[in-house]
Symmetry: C2
Subunit: 112 residues, 2 copies
DNA sequence: AGGTCAATTCGGCAAACACCGAAATATCAA
DNA sequence: TTGATATTTCGGTGTTTGCCGAATTGACCT
């Protein structure tokens, strides 16, 4: 993870509709949801949401997989992991190894 | 942590100079650095940095304490913790307790 | 009080961003 | 192929944001 990626991810999450979408997909789990369903649940126009989804996807916090006609979007938990890793790298100048090791476990089981 | 706080924090970190400042302060540790020193290390104008620092501080990711004339800024690790907690709350609909418990450990020793 | 240094606020400009409706593209089903 | 549904792209508008230099405020020292 580089600084530019991290900025892109933070910027992607720093917007109401996008953060709601992301959290919704976190709750939903690995299977994700099609775009129109997300749009319905959030009460946003499909066109507006589409832009948001592509921003989230480009930032790497969402994955998109086609299922028939629909594109299912799902939260990418490992990107959250990478983001936190990036943030606290070299924490306290490395004196306290505590900080660097902690958040390397994030991953929802890929079940269901 | 509420959605609005999270957005503010993400937006604060979604900018090059601010993210650099934050990471610098993470590396430096709990004692932090005075504003002008940060400005020197990052190569930004003090006035520009000042705005950035206040954004980071208002978002809660930095703390500010006065030491004589100087104001020392330090990274607030517990805000990172809260942010991640907020992100992965109700992960996978709570089916997998794995996700919710993981990131509650972040904290640099308050030493030195 | 007067001088110095740290930090912030202010004014102005250019670039980026969010929103919408309408039109275009893509996939499937009949 | 035609029609229906899913999603994206396009134009246009108003708001937000980042940058800077200059002026201002705040704390300290003599």
């Amino acid at each position: 993870m580089e600084q530019a990626n991290a900025i892109e991810a933070f910027a992607a999450l720093a917007q109401n509709t996008r953060l709601e979408a992301f959290r919704l997909l976190i709750r939903v789990g690995p299977k994700g949801l099609p775009a129109l369903e997300i749009s319905r649940q959030l009460g946003t126009k499909p066109s507006t949401l589409s832009g948001h989804l592509s921003i989230l996807k480009r930032a790497g916090v969402l994955t998109a997989t086609r299922h028939q006609r629909e594109i299912h979007y799902a939260a990418n938990l490992s990107s959250v992991n990478a983001l936190v890793q990036f943030l606290i790298a070299d924490c306290c100048g490395g004196q306290i190894d505590n900080c660097s090791e902690i958040v390397s476990l994030l991953d929802c089981a890929e079940t269901s």
